[in-house]
Symmetry: C2
Subunit: 187 residues, 2 copies
């Protein structure tokens, strides 16, 4: 059922995808999605949770308890691999996120909260990297974190707009250099 929804969301976006279509594409009747999830909003919320779990799991399998530059690069690799291996997941997830920004919704509030956490995580990586003497103390962890998150979301956005125009390998390789240049303490 969720797989069917992902496919439809990629094609039409969440707003133009109907519960009827989802049920039928999944091989059931038109009414099932509705009776299972109560409402369209309810269904999208479940989908949100599912997406979130999947990404969190993927990310933490890369980052683990790393910190400093290593953690930042691990997150970059997590994104690179997720974009290529789970492209449809990614597309549907962001379509859901983007469209939830349009109106007041639970998803929208959750999103704001998650984004705060993302920023805190990256800031912590940097802070611990500075403590370990690996990252230059002139770096402001909170600001780097915002810029790092901007990179992540900005790349994903450009990828959504036109995936073919981007050479992901080259982009992530070059961004690694940028991170090293910026963070690494000079001897």
């Amino acid at each position: 059922m969720f797989e069917a929804a992902i496919q439809l969301i990629i094609e039409r976006g969440t707003e133009r995808t109907t519960l009827k279509e989802i049920g039928e594409l999944a091989g059931y009747s038109r009414g099932l999605a509705h009776s299972r999830f109560g409402s369209k909003e309810g269904f999208l919320q479940q989908l949100f949770v599912r997406f979130d779990g999947r990404w969190k799991e993927h990310l933490s399998s890369y980052v683990g308890d790393k910190f400093g530059i290593e953690a930042v690069l691990a997150a970059v690799h997590a994104l690179r691999d997720f974009l290529t291996a789970e492209a449809s997941y990614m597309r549907a997830m962001y379509m859901l996120w983007y469209e939830s920004l349009g109106h007041d919704s639970k998803i929208r509030r959750k999103l704001a909260d998650h984004h705060r956490v993302y920023r805190e995580d990256a800031a912590r990586w940097v802070r611990r990297g500075i403590e370990a003497g690996e990252i230059a103390p002139t770096i402001n962890p909170e600001q780097f974190s915002i810029q790092f998150n901007a990179f992540v979301f900005g790349i994903i956005y450009q990828w959504l707009v036109n995936a073919e125009a981007l050479d992901l390998e080259a982009i992530f390789d070059d961004y690694e250099l940028t991170v090293q240049r910026l963070l690494r303490v000079k001897e």
Copy 2:
């Protein structure tokens, strides 16, 4: 009419905004928006063109024929000021962009094209900065451009998700430092 549309798109997104509401909020009858623009798609396209013109004008009033680091910083300032002075324009514009990614549309194709141009512009600024000896020749103009655009779109995205959580002044000040650190040739 366009002003009414902007207000409604901010509240509900494009998909949940109806031509009827737009006409009525603008002080006309329910049918006017339709008879003027032919279709909802037609209306949104006009809106897209309008947004695009406004942003282009704003940006070029900051960048002019600058190049190198100066041009990059001018673009950063253009964004900073647009975000604060024209917040509703920005919100509605990006909601329109985001929602047009969900399905095949003319807007979507135009968007892809515009983004290519954005990347070319920034890459050109960098290339000319390298030629002038101001920017380190180790910098890859195309890759910096992608990262720069990612910053722009990524900041806007975070701002759309939760504007209150961001201190725009601090963000843009710190990003200036980042740009200088990355690009400026070391003597």
